[in-house]
């Protein structure tokens, strides 16, 4: 992916420029891919390409992340555009599954199998020469040895998730697609999984995982694809996108001992675009989140005003994504 994040509008641009003609083909490549269900557009004209490493697919619930991952896994036919995985079309191409591992979001697993049996079933269906050894290795990798011989039906959500991951990486795929992989995991399990996925990426594998939680993506992914309402809102280096998210215009609702005096003091701040009094509250519109919050207390003190309440009004992830799309 390119180092510079590209903010995208109606038509998403490539997260990574095509490599030189002599270089290896991208592991994943989408060229103006759309998918719709009847009149509903789930994925809208998305283009990007990915190589080895960990990439986070970030977006709110309903953004189209799972639809995108299902198309990459060959489980959904793109309505328009071209989509290739390991240089081949993903749709109707079962031989591709030798190189792909998928962890679906849906929790359902064969509850009557033990974790080990589930991993072994996956190994056998992958035609591995020694399914027992491969299953044992996968179970060990996801730290599920202590419960390996218990039925999956008795597992906690986090254990079930790890069993699914064991099944997906039992054949050591070069491309791993994970749909909300950290659902149900406790903090220790998350750290273990993050370390595991990072190690796999360091071996040259391509890992694409979806999440609606910013912090998860921040901890694992170097590169990120931000998707909102079916569109690619941003792509590239996570830190730069995070900065864009943080530095966007913010609105704060403030309650103090003297809103008028505080408003007059704040409007002199370079980070503040404007202030207004509305419904007995002071509303401040700011351009630099960090500078404003750092200076607010000192400004209030200089104006001899007591702060009772400071609340950002648009800090939901949804509003962040909407802002990125508008850009």
């Amino acid at each position: 992916m390119t180092a510079d994040p590209r903010m995208t509008g109606a038509t998403a641009t490539a997260a990574r420029a095509p490599g030189p003609a002599s270089g290896p083909a991208p592991a994943i490549e989408l060229d103006h891919v759309s998918r719709w269900y009847g009149n509903v557009v789930a994925v809208n004209d998305i283009s990007f390409s990915l190589g080895p490493g960990v990439t986070g697919l970030l977006g709110p619930n309903g953004a189209g992340k799972s639809t995108l991952l299902h198309m990459l896994a060959g489980l959904l036919r793109p309505s328009a555009g071209r989509l290739t995985v390991a240089g081949e079309p993903a749709w109707r191409n079962p031989s591709l599954y030798r190189r792909i591992g998928l962890v679906p979001e849906r929790e359902a697993v064969h509850a009557f199998l033990t974790g080990f049996e589930f991993a072994r079933m996956n190994a056998r269906l992958q035609r591995l020469p020694d399914p027992d050894a491969a299953a044992a290795r996968a179970i060990r990798t996801v730290d599920l040895e202590s419960a390996a011989h218990r039925q999956i039906g008795t597992y906690s959500k986090g254990m079930r998730q790890r069993a699914k991951i064991a099944g997906a990486l039992v054949h050591e795929p070069t491309i791993l697609l994970l749909d909300e992989p950290f659902n149900g995991m406790d903090p220790r399990q998350r750290l273990h999984m993050i370390a595991l996925l990072r190690a796999m990426a360091a071996e040259g594998r391509t890992i694409l995982f979806s999440s609606h939680i910013l912090e998860e993506v921040e901890r694992l992914a170097d590169e990120v694809l931000v998707i909102h309402a079916g569109r690619l809102a941003a792509s590239g280096d996570f830190r730069q996108i995070r900065r864009l998210m943080t530095d966007r215009p913010h609105t704060f609702r403030i309650r103090s001992s003297d809103d008028r005096a505080l408003g007059a003091a704040l409007v002199a701040q370079p980070a503040v675009f404007g202030v207004e009094l509305s419904d007995g509250r002071l509303i401040a519109r700011v351009g630099d989140y960090g500078a404003f919050t750092a200076a607010l207390a000192a400004t209030a003190k200089r104006a001899a005003v007591s702060l009772y309440e400071v609340a950002p009004t648009d800090d939901s992830l949804e509003s962040v994504f909407a802002y990125l799309v508008r850009r």
Binding site: G62, H70, R77, R92, P94, L96, P104, L113, R124, L125
Partner: protein, 239 residues
């Protein structure tokens, strides 16, 4: 071979050991219980008529319907089919394994039910001949119904309802009124096979050639349709 055995093993374990299996066993035992009651009551019913009414018309299609629609349809419904679909295996292998398991389980319940019911009915040599003929016929019937219901379960999520309509309306009512519709009745094919094995004990049913033709169409067509539809089956994402 490993692939096929694995598919059969997982399907078998998924279908057996659930509450529905207990209910199906009870359904299979029902004709035996009724035959026992008749025997204790001193009656000597017509074995062929009783086997047709209880086993061929009710027990066989209902058990096949449950196993046939659950073998693959339930996995598609609950999402576990994804773990089979994301493997480098031909869709045909998946469908064949599902049909084989559904047929084996159906036959495992229905064939002993037919044999025990017929033997308990006792009666003449003709009754014994009818029983010995219908037992292999319901085994063939298990395969035909399984192929049909597995295929329907890939085509639609309402396989149970459609299968029930086929058994009750098409085979149960229409085939009795409109003789021409019998050519598409698995039940009539089962009776036809029984008639081939014991012509004196079984009347009605399809001619041997028609029964074989229908069997080939249902098994080959069902498996081919199921594999074809599974190859283009789409798994929708959560968002």
């Amino acid at each position: 071979m490993t692939i096929f055995v694995t598919l059969v093993d997982v399907t078998l374990r998924g279908l057996v050991g659930r509450r529905r299996t207990v209910l199906l066993v009870l359904l299979a035992v029902l004709p035996i219980g009724l035959a026992l009651l008749a025997r204790l009551g001193g009656e000597a019913p017509d074995a062929a008529a009783a086997l047709d009414a209880l086993v061929v018309r009710i027990v066989l299609p209902l058990i096949a319907l449950v196993f046939g629609t659950a073998a693959l349809g339930a996995e598609i419904e609950d999402g576990t089919a994804v773990y089979l679909l994301t493997k480098p295996i031909a869709r045909l292998h998946i469908v064949v394994a599902k049909v084989v398991v559904a047929a084996l389980l159906t036959a495992a319940l229905v064939a002993p039910s037919a044999l025990a019911t017929g033997l308990l009915m006792g009666g003449s040599d003709e009754g014994l001949a009818a029983t010995l003929a219908v037992t292999p016929a319901v085994i063939i019937g298990s395969l035909l119904y399984a192929a049909a219901f597995v295929a329907i379960s890939v085509v639609t999520t309402r396989a149970l309802v459609i299968g029930l309509v086929y058994v009750v309306i098409w085979e149960g009512i229409l085939a009795g009124i409109l003789v021409g519709t019998r050519i598409f009745s698995i039940r009539e094919a089962v009776l036809g096979f029984a008639g081939v094995l014991a012509p004196d004990a079984w009347e009605g049913g399809l001619e041997a050639a028609q029964a074989v033709g229908l069997a080939l169409v249902v098994v080959i067509g069902g498996v081919a349709l199921g594999a074809r539809r599974l190859a283009v089956h789409e798994v929708r994402g959560g968002d």
